[in-house]
Symmetry: C2
Subunit: 333 residues, 2 copies
């Protein structure tokens, strides 16, 4: 083992210990008493990890001896696994480090629009991750229920428009409720291809055909479709916006995210019946600035609207999520 020691004048010291097998450890001692030990090794198998644990036990014991038991706090964090085929770390929307119990890469492809991953989690089932963003897991019926109005709506005989929703979750659940017609507009055929194969618990068989008795799926950018419907005067009882948080579109006309969001909202309101409802996901509850900005957009639409919001626990998100219901302000009679 090779030892290298660096002494700062005012900042304590750093010792690096290098082993012949390629592993190494840093021991960083700060003058105010904080001691950080990092061990880095290259192991593919659990055996290596057990050895590391035993080594750390010994380090901890020795430290307790050296400090005569005067250590106030000891905390050992689980090892961070990097560089393998399986990436277990998908930070939350509010930037926290969370490790998932992912044990298999089920699907990993780049579409013309985004990177599409479907990863298997032992507890959540398959998880759809679009461009690094956890979208939906097979465990997340709570998401689909929330964006459909939390069971308080009667979809029977209704006209429904879904924007995005390529995982098929919303479509699958609404079709069960005997709507008149559901139109889903999803830009990315490859999301549908991946989900119909690997997100079966979410979409059932609804994506096996792009057309059913009471639904159709259009593989298109929703902006021109919305414009067409608005022009034709086609109206819906429900518009459900399930687009990704970071917008993708073939229309280059809108530069900023907020302008794009407002365009979608304005167009959606144009095709929404006077007593219709618009449902969408908002953001993680901790991103209060983003939520406030979103609500400000709602006061800037072509027609006055009102809204309510609900906070829901979506299992695979590991953070609470806000969902919005928006409707046209009733006109004076």
């Amino acid at each position: 083992m090779t030892e290298t020691v660096h002494n700062w004048e005012d900042h304590g010291y750093l010792a690096t210990y290098i082993k012949k097998n390629g592993s190494f450890a840093n021991l960083r001692i700060h003058p105010h008493g904080l001691v950080l030990v990092d061990l880095q090794s290259y192991n593919d198998h659990m055996k290596g990890r057990e050895e590391v644990d035993q080594l750390l036990n010994k380090v901890e014991e020795r430290m307790q001896e050296l400090f005569h038991g005067n250590i106030k706090r000891v905390k050992r964090l689980p090892a961070i696994l990097r560089g393998g085929v399986i990436d277990r770390y998908w930070p939350t929307a509010d930037g926290r480090l969370v490790e998932y119990d992912i044990d298999e890469v089920v699907y990993d492809e780049d579409s013309p629009f985004q990177n599409i991953k479907i990863l298997h989690s032992k507890q959540f089932g398959n998880i759809l991750i679009l461009s690094g963003d956890v979208n939906l897991a097979e465990s997340d019926l709570a998401y689909t229920q929330a964006i459909m109005g939390s069971g308080k709506e009667d979809y029977a005989g209704k006209e429904v428009l879904i924007l995005g929703g390529g995982d098929g979750g919303i479509l699958y659940e609404i079709v069960k409720l005997k709507p008149k017609m559901v139109t889903m507009v999803e830009i990315d055929q490859m999301v549908i291809d991946g989900c119909k194969k690997y997100m079966r618990k979410t979409c059932g068989d609804v994506l096996d055909n792009l057309k059913g008795e009471c639904y159709q799926v259009l593989i298109e950018d929703c902006i021109p479709v919305l414009k067409r419907y608005a022009k034709e005067g086609r109206m819906f009882d429900y518009v459900i916006n399930d687009l990704t948080a970071v917008p993708i579109s073939t229309s280059p006309e809108e530069d900023s995210t907020w302008e794009f969001l407002r365009l979608i909202l304005d167009l959606s309101m144009k095709v929404l019946k006077q007593d219709g409802k618009y449902f969408t996901q908002g953001n993680c509850i901790n991103l209060t600035d983003a939520l406030t900005l979103y609500e400000e957009q709602l006061s800037r639409l072509y027609c006055p609207v009102e809204f309510s919001k609900e906070t829901v626990c979506v299992p695979s998100y590991m953070e609470l999520w806000v969902f919005y219901t928006i409707w046209k302000k009733p006109t004076d009679i």
Copy 2:
């Protein structure tokens, strides 16, 4: 900046860069092409973190240049914050690293039985952590509902025994349902003291007095209480075991966790009416071995029992949790 480089014969190389301000970086290059960069600095404020982000942006750009854009995958993880007053890392029962949005230490005391922490999370409210184990957050009504039978039970006019439950959540919810009498047996007065002050959303005012119109709280080890009740022939409609996963008891007679669990179960069955129900939390859904072992204990009780289980998403746990319902096997008529 000081640079130290170590070359292994077969394991690539490690460069350490040390800055005058006490921060340092490791650059570990493995022969098969994995490059790991770790930066460690001592910063109390966000400004330092922004600087670190900018530095890492530059490192990433430079790496892309050096490799002529031939980098297959780049992943940057959020910084791990160590050594501060606030500890944001409370690994899951299945050993995963998860970061909580904790911004305040509300309560931190050692009782004769355990360490009691109540930490504030922006999204989950206050979280009770007993000896490092996340017990319950103010957001976790789902836990209390699950361990009460998920809304399928009628507690009106019933005799209920709660084992543990010091956060007051179960007691608070059951008292609303007009039971005949609820007896709660909690060993640790300090848990009650902390929770009645800082877990108000969970326990309401129910812990303000240890006795109410239809409830009493006994500050005792539940083992002797159960033995006393069994001897007296006192029977309950519901027994709810909300004891901590790792048992604490003043009775030294039971060595192993499983023996202790079986003792509790046996004694609970003795005070449970023939048509009564016993509810308890099991474990995280991924710990299948522990769940199987628990279920094996159920076949080794003094009387035959049957059970069902349910998997529930408890918001602050960041993993799915299994709850059990156990009842005495109906006798032949």
